[in-house]
Symmetry: C2
Subunit: 333 residues, 2 copies
């Protein structure tokens, strides 16, 4: 049986991450993790006519690179992906460019981990030999969709996140050597009535807490089982909230082992306030910094938890609260 | 091996549709298929404050009804769904209300079939014992998002579709009796450079043609293998385009056996122009009319093909063409 507990899948035949590729924008390329990404952009338009088209191009390039590395340039059997744009158009157009069988996903900033879980399940059970999981975000597409036109130069609140211009792609295969996806945990929506769209860390931290607790219970594991627990984009504020929520659940966690991608992507001097966010944040940091350090032997077992804030411009205008969702995957080197 | 050909999955342990529930709005309740839906609305607001909240409520109610019928009111193990709203908020809020492990999908109007395929794969391979696949659309949420504020009373072009106020839910289980999901085919994006967002049938028909051809090739089947081939929301115009595209591929298809949900949902006098569309169109007609007639013994083997137009308000403004996607599932009674 590959079902574990209430929310988790255990992959007996654990899929292999045969290629992990990433690309980041100019601001992220000046951050502390720059050396770990495959492609650093000097221009966030990538010679395209719009930022949306640039985001599509980011996905296309890193997927092509991953297929080159892992499959000698052959097509992958499926493309699982999503992004923050309404109707996930950046991904839809990337799927058009890549001409691969397409599974469109939306889990806000958790989308990459959602794709890793589904791709792993389809491979582990024999439906696919390989699959791509991809996600992207772009500061300029997100800012004008969720907040204000960039041209206004609107002042940002201290708890606001900076949507990362970033994309990450993992090409999963049934056979081969490399990092394996050992298990995955589906999330449930958790909504603690946060209504401030500039306070994403607070909206998502309770869902991360719930997903982590569910994962540990389903897998009968302790936090120490993992060399690293990596969250997606809680930022500085959300990370502190998570630590407090976990302690209220009676769980103390070694803070050295708890890394948040959004809180790690920029130097404080880069003035991103709460830290990075966006679908591309955990996708790029996961496929770049985390997986590459695993490949160097620095970490053996890592739990990657992606979290998403399920809001839209419409739900914000309607004064709805912000439901949070989180998914987890266990990687082993 | 459960992989078939290039794009298809064959479910040896075919999941059962243990409950199929549907709900439609007031206009659809006056159409020719009204008697086949479970719940007919007199008011498309469902006592909510917004149409978006009403769409969420539609999903919640039919999912609860399905869990009541198939699981005695117990929770399903996963909720796979999506809708047309930006960031699939109607579904996100339904997942919050239902508190189920959530897999958010976006395949535009093909989302319901995408969910059936993924849910069936996860059940057939033992990751889940049961799962809900759901999708919805609402005329008023879609119209103001993709086209014009309703209050303007803008005149519609003759090739325009009418987004159905409709939702459908299939509760899949590993064991039991009923309609089975025998196979599924993933689609690839097909884009024939249609740029008119009021000509969805033309944008989607090539993807439906490609998906149908891929399915038949992967399963080594002829169209006559199916008592019925059901498309989602090509409408009158798209249906004719599909028939022509198929004939160019050398495939003649018995038009009596080819039903389009969008072209069947309204009487011509209801003035919907090209016919119905929206994620809820094939979801409600599939779970209502199609599955109920299968349960009556009228059809034994049905191919359901959902199609989506992967556009967004932004991509339309940017003069992008409209990529089409289609997914197919084979149902057997």
């Amino acid at each position: 049986m590959s079902r574990c507990g209430e929310q988790s899948f255990y992959f007996e035949k654990a899929p292999v991450i045969a290629a992990n590729t990433s690309m980041v924008g100019p601001k992220e390329a000046q951050g502390p993790l720059a050396e770990w990404f495959d492609i650093l952009l000097e221009d966030d338009l990538l010679n395209q006519k719009s930022w949306e088209a640039a985001e599509t191009e980011m996905q296309r390039v890193i997927c092509k690179k991953a297929m080159q590395e892992a499959l000698g340039g052959e097509d992958a059997q499926a493309f699982l992906g999503g992004d923050l744009n309404a109707q996930i158009i950046a991904t839809g157009f990337a799927a058009r460019a890549l001409k691969l069988p397409f599974i469109g996903l939306y889990g806000a900033c958790s989308t990459f981990i959602e794709g890793l879980i589904l791709g792993s399940a389809l491979i582990s059970s024999g439906y696919l030999d390989n699959a791509i999981a991809v996600a992207s975000s772009h500061f300029c597409t997100a800012e004008r969709q969720f907040r204000f036109p960039l041209e206004l130069g609107t002042q940002r609140t201290p708890s606001a996140h900076w949507t990362a211009t970033a994309a990450g792609c993992a090409l999963l295969t049934r056979t081969g050597d490399g990092i394996r996806v050992r298990s995955g945990t589906l999330g449930r929506i958790v909504d603690k009535a946060i209504k401030d769209a500039n306070h994403m860390g607070a909206a998502m931290a309770p869902a991360v807490c719930a997903c982590l607790m569910a994962h540990l219970e389903d897998m009968d594991a302790e936090p120490e089982h993992y060399d690293l627990i990596v969250t997606g984009d809680l930022g500085w504020i959300g990370r502190n909230i998570l630590i407090e929520l976990l302690s209220r659940e009676g769980m103390s966690i070694d803070e050295e082992r708890l890394i948040d991608c959004g809180a790690s992507l920029y130097y404080k001097e880069q003035d991103t306030h709460a830290g990075g966010s966006g679908c591309g944040c955990i996708a790029a940091v996961g496929c770049g910094y985390i997986m590459k350090r695993m490949q160097l032997g620095d970490f053996k077992r890592v739990l990657l938890i992606g979290s998403g804030a399920m809001l839209s411009p419409t739900s914000t205008l309607q004064a709805e609260s912000i439901p949070g969702i989180a998914y987890a995957v266990e990687l082993e080197a």
